[in-house]
Amino acid sequence: MDGHASPIRVLRLLAAACLPAAALLIALGGGASAADPTPSTSAATPSTSAAPVIGVAPSASPEASPIPAPPVPTPIPHPADGGTNQCVECHRAVNDRQAAIATAWEGSIHAKGGVTCADCHGGDPTSDRMGIAMDRTKGFVGRPSREQTIGMCGSCHADPERMRSYNLPTDQYAKYWTSVHGQRLAAAKDVRVAICIDCHGSHDIKKASDPTAPVFPLNVPQLCAGCHADADRMKPYGIPTDQFDIYSRSVHGVALLEEADTRAPSCASCHGSHDAKPPRATEVVEVCGKCHTATQELYLQSRHAELKDAAPKCWTCHGTHDVAKPSEKLFFHPQPPDYQCTTCHDLQARTLRIQLDRFANEADRRCDTCHHPDSDIYAQVEAIAGALSEAQGAYDAAGGRIGEAAGMGMIVGDADVTLSEAKTSLIKAQAAVHTTKLTVIAQTAGDAQKKAGDAQAIAQARLDESFFRREAMIVVVAVIVANVAALWLMRRRLDRRSAVEAGDAPGTPGDAPGTPGDAPGGE
């Protein structure tokens, strides 16, 4: 036995050697949890490659099991204040900063709801003696740590009984710990992540429905950008910082930030708020479909949707933060693109698989990025694009003709109504592109084209009528002008004759008053 390790000892040694390695692996795995699917975001190994890209594609990576939420702490115990908050009285007198805090709290929704200093800081709010009011041995907390703060907020806000009268949800605490923010805090103790007070404020908390609250929908993009557009702050995480800029130029950003349309999505609409994280590729259709219900239904009928995980999703064609108004340019590149098998195929597994990065580039969000000109599907895409373009052309032509007829003063109400019907079919045909079904699209586009043709025919009939009236008018005017000219000629002839007669010697028979040539009726 001496000099030779027994099998049990060898196993023990192996186990001892493996345990720290396993612990390290678990820690690193937690740090790079798939709850945070963005690349190189491990707090333990921050990435330095933070090169921003236009539109970040949703992650397709599988999610590791998240670190569970810590139990909800109990609220901080303290003596009842009996309606007097001595803390405010004393702190207001300390200095301007403390006075400002007191004022901010007094204007907060918490002050109105009876949530006082001691509820978050502990201590005895009934005493005006510092030694008693702020006695740590009696539960005074002071300024809670960032991690403590989450539990402190959760201790009330996760309590259904307490929240019942305010009709507030109570799942924010649980959701927070599923978020990228919460998971990073749990896994890496990274206290730089956003916590409750970073979004809601601390002493000056307002209702989310208050337009001056940072979490009011119109203010959310700027709120998130406060951290996410800060290159220094984001550097350790290696994530882009241009999302706010890109978003604010998108259709969504313009609607929310410029047109103040609160129905337009902010960051939280797609990423979640308390449970903030980038939507996974498998979730994108649901996320967009929350608002684009009809489009989602059409998409779900498509061949694309049948491909399930390998399918192109909303973002493949429309992008993420940089969603633009869709147009026919989404069909084809102006020049044939650089075809790479790996854009759509996993060569080893011999399966379809969309290469996410390729579609981060707006110029590549085209049907022909995947569908090669030699393929049958390319021909189908051409037919779809052709049907829509013909319908659009017919609609534009009809609109132009109606405008002409209206400009000629013709009444074109019936043509306008028919054109509205054509527009309805055209927009339906454009939406039907999400089905990828040529027959459906061509039929609806054909309907639009037919209605546009009808509208154009009505307008053309009005134009023809107008031309006829003008031509008839020219004839009438010509007759009138000829009459006037004839009258004028007759008058000139009479004038001449009068002059000749006046020039003749008096006494000639023609100059005698009452002769036929001088009769008033002959003038």
Binding site: E297, A415, D416, V417, E421, P506, E523
Partner: protein
């Protein structure tokens, strides 16, 4: 011309002047009659709908049972009529999203846009869901006996 011819010359000039006036007046008035409609033709009023005024017949009450709706034309604009508990109401049938013509959905009892599933309250025209950014504008209805009229606003 002898001295006794003078009294005869004066009335001749006066008659000619009267005739000249008459001819000039008829030429000018003929020209005005011709030019006025021509100008009207060449420079038509900006809106053909303007001035159409009056009530537009929109069908019979008996053809619109309670809880139903239908789209009818009002000049150049489609309008949706809905029979509600409060009476017959009408809204513009042009969806405030991208301009499709909405329809009454018997199943849901709502006004629905076929393009992107925008939904509107049939009684008020308010947006219930979907992308439309604004309610359907109200159109005044006048019911006279069994006849429904729309009053262009």
């Amino acid at each position: 011309m002898g001295p006794d011819a003078q009294p005869n010359a004066k009335p001749a000039v006066s008659r000619r002047r009267v005739l000249r006036w008459l001819l000039g007046f008829s030429v000018i008035s003929t020209a005005a009659m011709v030019v006025t409609p021509m100008v009207g033709f060449i420079v038509p009023p900006k809106s053909t709908a303007a001035g159409s005024g009056g009530k537009v017949p929109a069908g019979k009450v008996a053809d619109l049972p309670l809880g139903k709706g239908k789209v009818v034309p009002m000049g150049s604009k489609p309008v949706i009529l809905v029979s509600t508990e409060q009476g017959i109401v009408a809204h513009s049938a042009i969806c405030t999203h991208l301009g499709c013509i909405v329809a009454f959905d018997d199943l849901s009892g709502m006004i629905v846009c076929p393009c992107h599933d925008g939904r509107f309250n049939p009684a008020t025209g308010a947006v219930v869901s979907g992308p439309p950014p604004a309610p359907l504008p109200h159109v005044t209805v006048s019911v006279e006996g069994d006849d429904i009229f729309l009053v262009p606003g």
